[in-house]
């Protein structure tokens, strides 16, 4: 995903400011026609979805509920998101694991079949090409979901390395799941509602685990994961069954699980302290700087063997120059690119995401500061429209996560 909704708004504002109304209208409709639609597009519109361009897709930013209401309802009841703009792909072949390990920081070999993890695709400099959830379905089948906005570059990157790998005799091939749609069901009602639609016992499926199973009469890929901090699932469903599944989920919840758009999704992930690629992580950001050191497998820290490992292992040993931190601040909500200063007014970093937390009713933000300035409780200044407001470094997640783990 590239850029926050706010930036989207800002960039549109700039465009508008530079052109006359007719030209804008023409351009708007031209680009509108080029946008891709998920199979749920008509369903969104029928449910009052306000569709906006996002990473080349026309996606709902919100429905009838306000972003505030939707965010709170996700944590109290549940949310259903259409995330079909994200790209699911499978790697198959007996060398899939060693192949993927060249590109990501995770200990893929060490994953038990049917489990997954958040990981980062790195470049030669140790920077992030994308963040992604990867799952080991079996030793010769990996399932990967990458960001919509990164799809083209990710696929090009994987393809290039796959060619070289195969040329040396490696056994790996891919399948891009364009025949499937992706729904995210999140919140405390996610499991009880989904249990109505499958015979498999979901109480045995824990956070990060994966299963292929029948849901509502079609074969789905189910991952117990999400982007809200709540318990929940991402369901890859054959596209011809996606609308039926969405309807069934809403019906079974008796209206408590609400359709939720990108606006609340952004608030939820920020409250959960999760990165938005393109904002909080970019080509130049290493996983260590981003606070994702935990995602670097133990074996990988010792052996390296992934792109940019030298840089990353050096940072692990010596500490990174900058670190991602959370803030709670006074005044107006900080947004991405707000400057961070120390008490004396020296520039020490920049906010990468920020907003008003619907659940905490205060401003939350994340950004990067110089190492040494990153301690929890440290007071800094955040500049919004030229004025300095107090921002206190705060541990993330801002709202406690509720992942379903074995007790």
């Amino acid at each position: 995903m590239r850029g926050s909704l706010w930036q989207l708004g800002q960039s549109i504002t700039r465009r508008l400011a530079q052109t006359d109304k007719k030209a804008v209208t023409r351009r708007y409709f031209a680009s509108e026609a080029d946008l891709k639609k998920t199979v749920l597009y008509d369903f969104h519109v029928a449910h009052g979805g306000k569709m906006v361009p996002f990473a080349g897709w026309s996606m709902p930013i919100q429905y009838k509920d306000s972003i505030m209401e939707s965010t709170i309802n996700c944590r109290e009841n549940g949310s259903l998101f259409d995330v079909s703009h994200m790209c699911g792909l499978s790697l198959k072949g007996k060398d899939s694991v060693p192949f993927l390990e060249k590109l990501v920081i995770a200990d893929v070999a060490g994953l038990a079949p049917g489990t997954g993890t958040l990981t980062v695709f790195t470049n030669e400099k140790g920077g992030a090409i994308d963040d992604s959830v990867i799952t080991k379905v079996k030793d010769d089948h990996l399932y990967i979901v990458v960001n919509a906005g990164c799809r083209d570059k990710d696929l090009a990157h994987i393809e290039e390395h796959m060619k070289a790998f195969k040329a040396k005799g490696g056994d790996v091939s891919w399948h891009i799941h364009d025949e499937r749609s992706l729904l995210a069901l999140q919140g405390p009602l996610a499991a009880p509602v989904l249990q109505h639609l499958t015979k498999d016992d979901l109480s045995k499926l824990y956070f990060g685990e994966f299963r292929i199973l029948d849901i509502n009469g079609s074969i789905c890929f189910l991952t117990r994961t999400g982007y809200t901090g709540e318990d929940g699932f991402e369901i890859s469903v054959p596209s011809e069954n996606a609308v039926d599944l969405a309807k069934a989920i809403l019906e079974k919840s008796e209206g408590k699980v609400r359709l939720t758009g990108l606006g609340a999704r952004d608030s939820l992930r920020l409250e959960a302290g999760l990165c938005l690629y393109g904002n909080d992580m970019e080509q130049h950001t290493t996983p260590v700087e981003a606070g994702l050191t935990w995602a670097i497998g133990k074996r990988r820290r010792a052996d390296g063997g992934f792109l940019g490992a030298e840089v990353i292992l050096k940072q692990l040993a010596e500490g990174p120059p900058v670190r991602r931190v959370g803030f709670i601040s006074s005044g107006p909500p900080p947004r991405s690119h707000s400057e961070i200063q120390d008490e004396k007014g020296n520039n020490i970093g920049e906010i990468t995401s920020g907003g008003f937390s619907p659940c905490l009713k205060k401003n939350i933000a994340m950004g990067y500061v110089k190492s040494g300035q990153h301690k929890v409780g440290t007071k800094h200044k955040i500049l919004v429209r030229g004025k300095a407001y107090e921002g206190v470094i705060t541990k993330m997640p801002f709202v406690p996560t509720k992942y379903y783990k074995p007790s």
């Binding site: 708004g9 800002q10 549109i12 400011a17 306000k50 569709m51 009838k64 965010t71 008003f356």
Partner: protein
């Protein structure tokens, strides 16, 4: 005026934020309106300024309002403050020129008044106008109503 616009209005309407099922926004008679979606209510030389129902509807939940200090000078068409919703940050432009004589302190504690009562307790500032003649640069209620309809129907 067209050079700089409240993004709440045009951009948010391009984001199609409140197009369906909200019905029609209220436009009050006796007020003057700016193309950038501020309203002004005139009482002698005093002008009360706020943002319209249409603007608040497009912005969504307002969480913070940044206002000038009393005594500050404002100019027609120039920014004097900002309004922050959960999703966006937007500049607010003054529909008249003059000196700020009062700001709505209540918005500090209760920014949501902008959503619930955009034309009453959700007002932003009171301005002592330099030139009442500037009011002719603003839109009449019927014209403004038409603008809102156009924005809503253009997508």
């Amino acid at each position: 005026m067209a050079s700089r616009m409240l993004w709440a209005s045009r951009a948010a309407s391009h984001l199609r934020i409140s197009v369906f099922h909200r019905g029609f926004s209220t436009v009050l008679k006796d007020l003057h309106y700016a193309e950038s979606h501020e309203w002004v209510k005139v009482d002698g030389k005093s002008a009360t300024v706020g943002i319209t129902d249409h603007a608040q509807d497009h912005l969504g939940d307002v969480v913070y309002v940044e206002l000038p200090d009393v005594g500050a000078e404002v100019k027609q068409g120039e920014g004097f403050g900002a309004v922050e919703s959960v999703k966006a940050s937007s500049e607010v432009y003054s529909p008249v020129s003059g000196k700020v004589v009062e700001v709505n302190e209540e918005l500090k504690e209760s920014p949501a008044l902008v959503n619930s009562h955009p034309f009453e307790s959700g007002w932003f500032i009171k301005v002592e106008m330099n030139d009442a003649g500037e009011l002719k640069n603003l839109m009449k209620p019927e014209e403004y109503s038409k603008l809102c309809d156009e924005e809503n129907s253009s997508h």
